[in-house]
Amino acid sequence: MTALGDLVRWLSDPANWQGSHGIPVRVLEHIELSGFSVLVALVIAMPIALYLGHTGRAGFIAINVANIGRALPSLALLAFGLVIAISLGLGLGFWPTVFALVPLAIPPIVTNAYVAIREVDRDIVEAARGMGLSEGQILRSIEIPLGLPVILSGIRTAAVNVVATATLGALVAGGALGRFIVDGLALQEYDQLMAGALLVALLAVATEVSFGALERATVPAGMRVVR
């Protein structure tokens, strides 16, 4: 296949590994953009989800928000990110993409954290309350540790979605790995296009795999036997 040959040639060209348009910089930009967006989403979503989960309030909304999130097309989110960033005078590139990625990341985080807390055995919580733990202590020392794998699985879904969608940032003059794809498309340079696609795919799979490992590692020791 000539396309594959071109791809290999492009990837092995030292010029593509250097400078502000090189692969390492683009990868770092991609990670920075994704990481920042997930972080912002966590700061917004986690306190709300944990509060709702602990009190059991607004369950229907908390559980279904993930489905609603799925219906939002990523390209449309980008469009709204663009509108917001421009009206706030933040310009193109980084910020419109962040505004698109944060709402994308929030739903799975909320739903999983809510479910994680609700699924903790109510008898255990009652016992803790009976022993005099405060509500905050119950959340910190019981509900969060026991629900951690499920909470992390929500963050994983969010992170993988964000890494995937961050690619679109190149459409609004952003950097990151989407640059290779969008430029490759525009210039019909299929080697660059495929290299970008491959790198993004690898990054997404790597995100998925490392979060999966993290989830397994955070199952509380006492519960590993049961599984």
Binding site: R70, P73, L75, A76, A197
Partner: protein, 217 residues
């Protein structure tokens, strides 16, 4: 977005009604083909996984990778081979539906109560009759839940195929981004969301018609 420009220019929408309708049709066509082909492939793979349980792991692993690969990346990888074509778009869209559909089909069939399967066998159903007359009908509710998620996801993803010359409502979003034209942005984004909501409602109705026992009281 240009100063002085209203957020929505109704005259633009009115003068482009025909094109909007055409793009809606394109959006639906892309979605229906993707979900239909996805259901057929997922169905075959699910039957395989149910028949040979050792295959379930590899099948979900492979479709899981396909699901994880960003849509734009997948489309891009296909372009050198299948071009800026409907085929490229559909290959990408279909591969996204597989994981969700297979998981639900297999879970639905496996979730049939053992005693129901046992009774069927005890009355002389063959394995094939058990699958077609008992397991699949009973799995229908769960399978439909998968089809709903797959459809909603696909409708959102179709917008991205605008980048490879397809796109349905995604065409307007892209147009809006390129021209900084909010009316097209809103038409595209809102149109896609509305399509998703309507499609979901339609699927709920179809499911209720197909599974009357789930809501009889």
């Amino acid at each position: 977005m240009t100063p002085g420009e209203p957020l929505v220019r109704w005259d633009w929408i009115a003068s482009h009604a025909g094109e909007i309708g055409q793009r809606v049709g394109e959006h639906l066509e892309l979605t229906v083909i993707a979900v239909a082909v996805g259901v057929v492939i997922a169905f075959v793979l699910s039957l395989l996984a149910l028949r040979i349980p050792a295959l379930y792991g590899p099948i979900t692993w492979t479709t899981g990778i396909l699901y994880t690969i960003p849509s734009l990346a997948l489309f891009a990888l296909l372009i050198p081979y299948t071009g800026l074509s409907l085929l490229s778009a559909e290959i990408g869209l279909v591969s996204y539906t597989l994981l969700i559909l297979i998981r639900n089909i297999v879970a639905g069939v496996r979730g049939v109560p053992v005693e129901v399967r046992d009774a069927a066998r005890g009355m002389g159903y063959t394995d094939r009759q058990i699958l077609w007359r008992v397991e699949l009908p009973l799995a229908l509710a769960v399978i439909f839940a998968g089809i709903r998620v797959a459809t909603i996801t696909t409708i959102g993803l179709v917008t991205v195929t605008a980048l490879i010359g397809q796109g349905g409502m995604g065409y307007f979003i892209l147009l809006g981004i390129q021209l900084f034209f909010s009316t097209a942005l809103i038409v595209g984004a809102l149109g896609s969301v509305v399509l998703a909501v309507l499609a979901d409602a339609a699927l709920v109705l179809v499911q209720q018609a197909l599974t009357p026992w789930t809501h009889a009281r």
